[in-house]
């Protein structure tokens, strides 16, 4: 006690702004040996959340995109409304409404997979992220479909194929190939966005950092560590996607 007082007496006003902090405290990873499993499991949880939610989102997104392109005003309106709501409200709010609202009604039994993933939280988490993601992926698909030359549809229809056959056999295969990079980008976004699932006690990366920080009183370094982990996943991933996109553009030739 005496020592601390003596120290504070020596500090100037500006030093007190940084009280308790030093550059070293950003990288004080002394908790790692003991708490490594929090980050390891958190990483697995985060990756599962983000990859699965985008995969789950693909089919609803495709239906939403086709709905947006439909001739029927009613279908256009409903799908447009869904997309508008999910794109214009915070993901955190959606997560809470889906978790406490929808999954307040549907009870999922508490069951643990892989030793640390409680499906009574995991499944609502996937649902919320997927419902949100489907609104964004729908717009990706819509743009992808519109980017396929109208002549492709005309050629298919002129052969006697129905509108749906033309879509399924000719337009969609080309559209999906074109949107794969954007879809991969959506996974990158989800890796980051899924961190809000921490607030509902899903044991993903951010939750691991917060728990370690709370337990060890090492407040900064755990967050720095997860920032490094997020970056180490997303940055190479985005670079790889960019490279694939460049290659695809080169491969594109007018047919």
């Amino acid at each position: 006690m005496y020592l601390i007082l003596a120290q504070s007496a020596k500090t100037t006003w500006w030093q007190s702004l940084f009280s308790g902090m030093s550059p070293a405290s950003f990288f004080n990873f002394s908790f790692l040996p003991k708490y490594l499993s929090f980050f390891w499991q958190g990483l697995v949880y985060t990756l599962l959340l983000s990859v699965l939610s985008v995969l789950v989102a693909v089919i609803p997104a495709l239906l939403l995109a086709l709905g947006r392109l439909s001739k029927s005003k009613a279908i256009k309106g409903i799908t447009g409304g869904y997309i508008a709501v999910f794109r214009s409200t915070p993901l955190l709010v959606q997560l809470y409404i889906i978790y406490f609202g929808l999954f307040g009604l549907i009870k999922i039994p508490s069951h643990t997979i892989l030793g640390f993933i409680d499906i009574s939280r995991f499944i609502p988490g996937i649902c919320a992220l997927a419902l949100n993601s489907s609104a964004y992926v729908a717009e990706i698909f819509r743009a992808g479909i519109l980017a396929v030359d109208a002549g492709q549809t005309e050629a298919a229809r002129s052969l006697g194929l129905s509108g749906w056959q033309a879509m399924k056999l000719v337009v969609l295969p080309q559209a999906i190939k074109n949107v794969l990079p954007a879809l991969a980008n959506e996974v990158v976004t989800m890796v980051k966005e899924s961190s809000i699932c921490m607030t509902l006690g899903m044991m993903e990366l951010m939750w691991g950092a917060k728990t370690v920080a709370g337990t060890t009183y090492i407040t900064i370094a755990p967050y720095v560590l997860v920032a490094i982990i997020y970056f180490a996943i997303n940055f190479p991933a985005s670079k790889a996607i960019e490279a694939v996109e460049r290659r695809m553009r080169r491969g594109d030739r007018k047919v």
Binding site: D149, G151, Q152, E154, A155, A156, R157, S158, L159, G160, L161, S162, Q165, L169, V170, P173, Q174, K177, G251, R253, K254, V255
Partner: protein, 250 residues
Amino acid sequence: MTEKSDVLISVRHIVKEFPDSGTVALNDCSLDISKGEVVAIIGPSGSGKSTLLRSLNMLETPTSGKIIFEGTDLADKSVDINRHRQKMGMVFQHFNLFPHKTVLENITLAPVNLKLKTKAEAEKTAVALLERVGLADKKDEYPAMLSGGQKQRIAIVRALAMEPDVMLFDEPTSALDPEMVGEVLDVMKNLAKAGMTMVVVTHEMGFAKEVADRVVFMADGKILEENTPSELYEHPQDPRLKDFLSKVLI
């Protein structure tokens, strides 16, 4: 060349308006196309010739008027247009081959998916047709590997594989490099010789003169003159046609 026998397509007072731009692309056009006849449609750009051709298989829906094909009015909304389109092959200016399919798949896609032929039958037909246009060796290539002339010949084969009663050509050589125009026109000439009914929107005056039984001149959405090629080119009546012919090379 051919006798004007039974009418295959009868266009009756077709009007096409584009409400967004307020333009009238077709203004009361009527035209009869007989079985086995080759009709060339010429005219300045923006004259409505492509719109008229695309109305024949309802790629453009006319605002009013009738398109009677094999006894059915295609402009009637209750008609199953897909069934009638199977009998009307179409070839486009920009080929519109399916880039994600091989040449063979491009040709067999429609007959197989419409359950008109088994895969084996469709492939046999496709190879036979490819041989006719000299491209049998390209059957496993993707369209991106082909030249423009090859693409267009394959587009013609793709339409022929449906065994259509009429072939519609929308400026089939306009997007080609000059040295490739000949190979496509040769395929079309052979098709005409074989007795196929053809409607060809074209800028190739030589082709129209040599192959067509009848040439139709359009301007401002109207059919202004139609006649045999020799009459139309040598004794044009309409001043717009005279003006047009004086500007194009024949």
